[in-house]
Structure formats: C-alpha cells, structure tokens
Amino acid sequence: MSSATGPDAFTGATPDNAIRDADRAGKSGGAMLAADGTPLKASLAKSLRAQKLRALALIAPLLIFIMVTFIAPIADMLFRSVENDIVSQTLPRTVVELDRWDGEGVPDEQTFRALGADLMVASELKNHTRLGSRLNYETTGVSSLFRQTGRDVDDLGEIYADQFIDLNEAWEEPSTWMSLMADPAWIENHEAWAAQEDEDETPEPRFRVSPTAQQALPRTARLFSQFATIIQTEDEDSPTEEEPWNIVYQALYEDLTGGYDAGAYGGDIQALLANAAEAAASFEQMNVRDFFVEEIDEDWADPQVWGTIEAFSSPYTAGYFLSAIDMQLTPQGIEAQPEDQQIYMLLFQRTMFMSMTIMISCILLGYPIAFLLSNLPLRTSNLLLILVLLPFWTSLLVRTSAWKVLLQQQGVINDILVWIGLVADGNRLELINNQTGTIIAMTHILLPFMILPLYSVMKTIPPHYVRAAKSLGATNWTAFWRVYFPQSIPGIGAGSILVFILSIGYYITPEIVGGTTGTFISNRIAYHISTSLNWGLAAALGSILLAFVLLLYYLYDRIVGIDNVSLG
C-alpha cells in the first residue's frame, strides 16, 4: 500500500507541484523573465529594495546609537589589549639601536646615546613616566628608574655645551642655532609674523628644520627640531629666544666628529662649524653609558630592563594576553609567570566553576517552581509569577546588601541556626565574604532568569503527552523523565545560557559579598580599569571572557541548536 492516503496521496497539480514545474522550467530555459522582459530576479530585487531601505531607515537611529555608544567604544577598548606603540613612540631612536643588541649584557654606547636623546625629549614631554608605568607591568622597578632618569637626563651633554660655548660665545646665541638649523622659508615666515603688530593674536609659525641641516648634521637637526617644537607647544616660547638643551650640543659633537660634510653651508656658519669641528676632535669626552649606569641608576646595566624594552618595542604586543593567562613575554621568549604571581587562570577557573555552580543551583531551584507554575490555573500562576518577578522591582544593590545582613556571622541566618541549636555559638558559619556568599546571593539574583524561560517553555508542553506516557505503562517518574523533561530542555538551555553568561560577567554582587575567595574575573577587570589603570590588561581579560562566551554560545548552537532556545 502507498504510504499516503487521502489528501496525503499525490494527486496531480497542487500548488507545490506548480512551483516545482515553474522551477524546472526556469532552470531549463535560462533566467525567468518578468512581464516586462527584465529578468525576474532583478525585478524582484528591485521591488524588495524599497522594503529593505525602509526597514533600514526604521532601525537606523538605534543602530547609530549603538554603534556610537556601544560597539565603537568596545572595539576601541578591545584594541587596547594588543596596542603597544608607547615604547616605539617614546623611544624611537633606542628601539632602532636595540636591533643590534644581542640580548646579552649591557648595550653599547651608541644605544645609550639614543636613549639619552629619547629620554630628554620624553622628559620634556613628561612621557617618560607613562612609559615607566607601562613597562612596570612587565618588570617591576622600571617605573622609578624612568622617573629618576627623567630628573637627571638634563645634565647629559652639559660637558659638550660648556666646551662649545667656551670655544665660541656664538654657540650660546639662539640666533646662531636659527641660522644653522631653521628652514629659510620658515625664517621668512617668522619675520613676517614678527613684523605684524598684534603678534599675540596669531601663533608663531611652527618651526621647520632646513634640509641642509638634515643633510649635514642629521642627529643635531632631528633633536633640535624636537627641541624647537617642544619649546613652541609645551613651553609656548619661541625657539628664537631659547638656548638649546645640553643634549643638542652632544648631538652636534657627534655629528661633527662623525664624518661631517663641510661643504653644505657657506659664509660665517661654515667658518663657525669648521672651527668647531676642528676643536671638537680634541674635546673632553663623556661616556653616556657610564653616565647612565654610574650617575643615574645602576639598573641601566641590568639586561632585564633592556630586554623588557626590546620585547615591547613593536607597536603590537601579545604581552597583555600572555599576562592574562599567567604567562609573560621575556627577552628569552614566552614563559610562565612566577608561581606567586599567577592569578588570572585561577580567577578564570573560579569564575567558570562558580558560574556553573550558580547555573546548576538555579536549575535545581527554578525547575520545580516553573513546573508548578505551568501546571497551575492561569489566575494562580500569574499571581505567583509576580512573586517571581518581585525582586526585579528592588535595586540590585539593596538585594545584595540584604544578603550581607542575612549571611554575616552575627547575621539573621546564623542567629536562627544558633537559636535552634543547629550551630554552636562559638562556631558560627562563614556564609559571606567567600564563595558560599557569592553563590547564595547570585543564585537568588539570577533565579528569575532561569524560571521565566523554563516557565514559558513548559507552558507550551501539552498535558496529554504525560497522560499518553502513563497510559502506555510509564510510572509518574518515567513519564516525567522520558517524556516531559526532554521537551523542557529548550527552556533549561535558554535559562542556562542566560544565567551563565550573566553570572560570568557579574561584578557588583561578588564585589560586595565575595570577599577575596568569592570574586570573579570581572572584579579583577574592574580593578585594572579603575585602580591600576592597566587598561591593556583589562582589555585582554575582557577579550578572553568575550571569546569564551562566544565559544560557549557556538558550542551550544552546535549541540542543542540556538533555534531550540525559547524565551516564550
């Protein structure tokens, strides 16, 4: 017999068959054409475009709002987890010189000169302390080293400055430096600016270094250019009136002694330079490396410090992510953090474990309630549902604080337990400021998120399935377990995802009742955001958390199917 009878049987033309026929015809005869001869697909797309545009226009305000206030900041925040241009921007010369360093011992004199120039600029810009704090995340002590160096770096090159000025008073004059360094075009602009009456109204033209100087005295030109810019922007003075930093004289000394091209300048300047170059050969020298190591701080001889600078010299780094999983980037490569500094894996594991525990507690407590609610008459169940929703009408902070009152050692629950004699007065239970406290309070707070999806799913399971199971010989338990329970799994899935994801990122409740053993990774993220200001690490921790949630979501979709999730 055919498997289908009556209307199930195949009986000639049906709408479905007509569609199939049309489909076949369309395939065999090329593209289907609309009445006006255009391809059907094109005219369909055209007719749908207006609809799509309209839909887009309707969601546009919200979309823009979310993009601007939510997605863009989050993307920016997440980007900080790999961003690391502070080293290469603050110490550009040093980073280049460090390429030659083999990672062993102390870098050479040239590297220290580059460091000196970089730090001079950085200390004028007050960037060196920021860099110090950044590198201090990786190697403790770097922060104070940089602060100390920033104070002393002024003296670097003083010996050359004195010798140049002793040689010729002109080296003290800013005008000498202007004619040596400034771009002729800039000088014209500057004169025009100085000539106008209200020179306070318009700012001084931004200093431009001359190509000749860049060619002939590259180190001096670069440093002087930075000096002039900082004088203009930070100090709001004019480079035409300020004597350069000592280190500029050092750069000049380096340029003049290291293959200076004598033919670049003409006139007085050439004579001045030729004289200086001749004299410089016999100048008293200063060893910058020794100055750093002996005068400023002997830590500069520590390869660890240099290793850290080199390891974090690239503009992007995995360092934050490595820190977030208790690893570190060292000059020798990636290795585990010292045992006593490992904390994040523990926190991740604890967050997972506690979220699981909270989720399971919510299932165990919520399932019977949802079952009862879905089997009661509508009037009663609506009333009880209001009781389930009641906590939402109270502030989260108030609820959590209430748990503090209830759970503390001199609190209500311990008092009652002591009063009925279950617990000795001297042996009160520790229910708060530990994991127990966090689990109890968060289970209570997240319970509605489990009950509501469960209830809405159970509401749709018709009672006749259980009846059918019983009529087939199943006991109450078998009928529940084999027939009712499997049909309620989408509700459990939805509730579990909701509760788990909410709890994994929960902050306020663990903060208040968690003590030290009951805090989550989110509390640590908050600490790095607001207290330690290590935003990169906070971003890396957040990214890992986000990736983990997405992974769970993906797994859930693969195993249970996200379209099986029902929120009612």
Binding site: G6, P462, R467, K470, S471
Partner: protein
C-alpha cells in the same frame, strides 16, 4: 463480530458518578457492561460526560462514587500505568522528541521487554497500520493521518486487551477519516481486542461499533446496536441525535398496546404512531419519523392516516431527492426519496399527500 464477544462483562461501570466541583454531577449514575472483544462507542454532544467516562476508565480521573471493574477486578485505585489499557488521543500525543520507532518502543521499554522482542513487536505493529517504512521518522515529519496510524500502532504494540480511543479521527478530513474508520474496525476485529471509542460523530459511531451508548446530560440515553439505535430510538434525544429525523408535536388521543393516535398541535390532524415513551391518553408527545420512511400519495391501507403537505423546496442530490415540506404548520419536514426512473420530481408550491407505516412513526417523550 458478535461471535468474538463473551457474555461475561469485561469492563463494567457500576453506579458510577463523577463531579468536579462538588455541586454538579458530570456523570450521573452510570451503569454499563462491556463484553470482551466488543467495540463500544460512547456517542454524545460535547459536555455529555462521555470523555469523562473514558478518562475514569483510563485512570486519569477518579470516580466520585461507584465502582469500575476491568476483567472482574476493581480498578478505581489502580494508577493508570498499571491498568494495561491502550489509549489513542485525538491529538495523537506522539512524543515529538522521539522517532516513530522510539515512540513504539516506549511502552515496551517500560515493560522491560528485551531488545530483539521489542523490534519484532514494533515491526509487527507498524506493518499492521501499513507504516513499516517510517520507523526512523519524527512525528513532525508525518501527516495527520500517518501520525494517527502511529498512535494507533503505539496503543496496540504492547498488546493490551482494552484500547480506549478519544475522538481519534476528530482532527482528520472526511476521506481519511473513512479509511481509518474501516482500518480501526478491521484491526479491532482481527486482534480480538475490546475497544471503547468516544466520538461525537454519529456516522462514525454507527459504522464502527457493535454497540453504541448515546450520552446526554451525564446519562446513557440509550445503549443499543447501531441499527436498533437508528430504527428504534427510545427517546426524542436519541431520535434527533442519530440520523436525520422529522419531529411533530402533538397530544396522544387514544392509546392501545402497540398503536396510538396522536393529534398534531398545528393543524389538529390525526396520525397513527407506535407508542414508545407515552404512558396514557392526553400525554404530550414528540412524534419521530425518518425522512426516508415517508411516502408521497401513500397506498398503505385503510387504517393509516395521511397528511396534507406543501412543497417548499426540492433538492436534487444525485442518488436521492430531498424535499422540504410544510406539514402541520412546520416548515422543516424533510422527505428523502430515491432517484428512480418513476419517481416524480416535485416543484415548490405543489400540494401533496404524505403518509407512512404506523410502526415507522414513534411517539416519544416530549
């Protein structure tokens, strides 16, 4: 079918009452014996108590009073899963998260039947309903008719002696319903099982059953074989509920043992009738005549009365003609005549005489 039935009651309801709210009785004093192998249908309008009776038998409702016995054993306090009664539901109630095979396996698994035996039984049951190729499908992939076949197979797979069916074909269309009606009766007969079948569709009840219990207002109005129910309804409810029926109101004028004369309310015309539910002359009565037992210009002998009628409507229905007449002041008198070559075709406005055999005209309660 009658030969498979034993005289000893297999299922019996003894003075069973049921109330949900403690104020009104949904089932009032039900007494019913069902023989082994019998196909009994509970027929009645919704709210008549028939489904409640079925649920009490299945164990999903408890009787407020009285005793229900199955195979001589009182089952009032036996939970449903221990009664061993197969059940088919109107909405199929196939477990959506199990395949067809798993659905059928379920009653066998809870009875701790071994795997190989289970497979044999499942195959046999599916073959019985011609669904052998569908073991691996899920219920959602089946049409309504197919689902009901599976539901039937599932109710039969553990070989119960009693199967209850609660309007199993109610959700199906007419053609499918007729096919399945036939198959259910054939299966019930072949397997020798006792079936209690609930429906509000009287055609279904008449074509399938050995006996039909017509329910109304919490009582069995009549318990009889289909033909007896149709031919000899015991009261006006049954007469009107089963088949098409013409009723005329009147007063009993004279009453003999097997003959009475009734004066009709509208015109005062007199007719002969078979006294069924009238006690004495002067009683008000409802007289019931089947449309196909009425004849035009009757030649029925001298003792019969005839009535004057006016044709209001003549409907050609192929095998029969259906004529609506005004009789004794009422506009809803229907006559069905077979489409024969010599049958006169009437047209609205024609005046005709109608009559019937006195035994076809039953004087019932009013």
């Amino acid at each position: 079918m009658l030969d498979t039935r034993s005289d000893q009651a297999f299922v019996s309801f003894d003075r069973v009452q049921k109330s949900y709210d403690g104020e009104t009785l949904v089932v009032k004093d039900l007494n019913l014996s069902i023989g082994k192998g019998e196909f009994l249908t509970m027929l009645g309008p919704s709210g008549s108590g028939k489904t409640t009776c079925l649920m009490m038998l299945a164990g999903f409702e408890t009787a407020t009073h009285g005793e229900i016995r199955l195979d001589g054993r009182e089952i009032n306090n036996i939970p449903p899963h221990k009664r061993g009664i197969g059940m088919v539901f109107q909405n199929y109630a196939l477990f959506p998260h199990m395949t067809v095979g798993e659905n059928l396996s379920f009653p066998l698994e809870v009875r701790k039947i071994g795997k190989s035996e289970r497979e044999t039984k499942i195959k046999r049951a599916l073959d019985m309903v011609q669904m052998g190729d569908f073991v691996g499908r899920r219920p959602a992939q089946l049409s309504g008719g197919q689902q009901q076949r599976i539901a039937l197979a599932r109710a039969l797979v553990f070989e119960p002696e009693l199967v209850l069916m609660d309007e199993p074909l109610g959700a199906l269309d007419k053609q499918l319903r007729e096919t399945l009606q036939f198959e259910i009766t054939r299966l019930a007969h072949d397997l020798g099982i006792t079936v209690v079948y609930v429906t509000h569709d009287q055609t279904e009840a008449l074509t399938m059953s050995d006996r039909v219990a017509v329910f109304d207002d919490g009582r069995i109005q009549q318990l009889a074989t289909p033909d007896a129910l149709y031919e000899t309804p015991q009261n006006s409810f049954v007469a009107q509920f089963i088949g098409e029926n013409n009723t005329l109101r009147g007063t009993v004028k004279t009453l003999d043992k097997d003959r009475c004369v009734v004066t009709l309310d509208g015109t005062g015309e007199e007719i002969d009738a078979l006294p069924v539910n009238v006690k004495k002359a002067g009683d008000k009565t409802l007289v019931s005549i089947r449309p196909e037992r009425v004849e035009f210009d009757p030649q029925l002998g001298e003792t019969s009365h005839t009535l004057d009628a006016e044709v209001l409507e003549f409907i050609y229905m192929g095998d029969v003609f259906r004529t609506r007449l005004r009789v004794a002041g009422r506009d809803d008198f229907i006559v069905k005549t077979r489409n024969r070559a010599d049958q006169k075709r009437l047209s609205p406005g024609d005046k005709v005489k109608i009559g019937w055999l006195p035994q076809d005209c039953r004087a019932l309660d009013h």
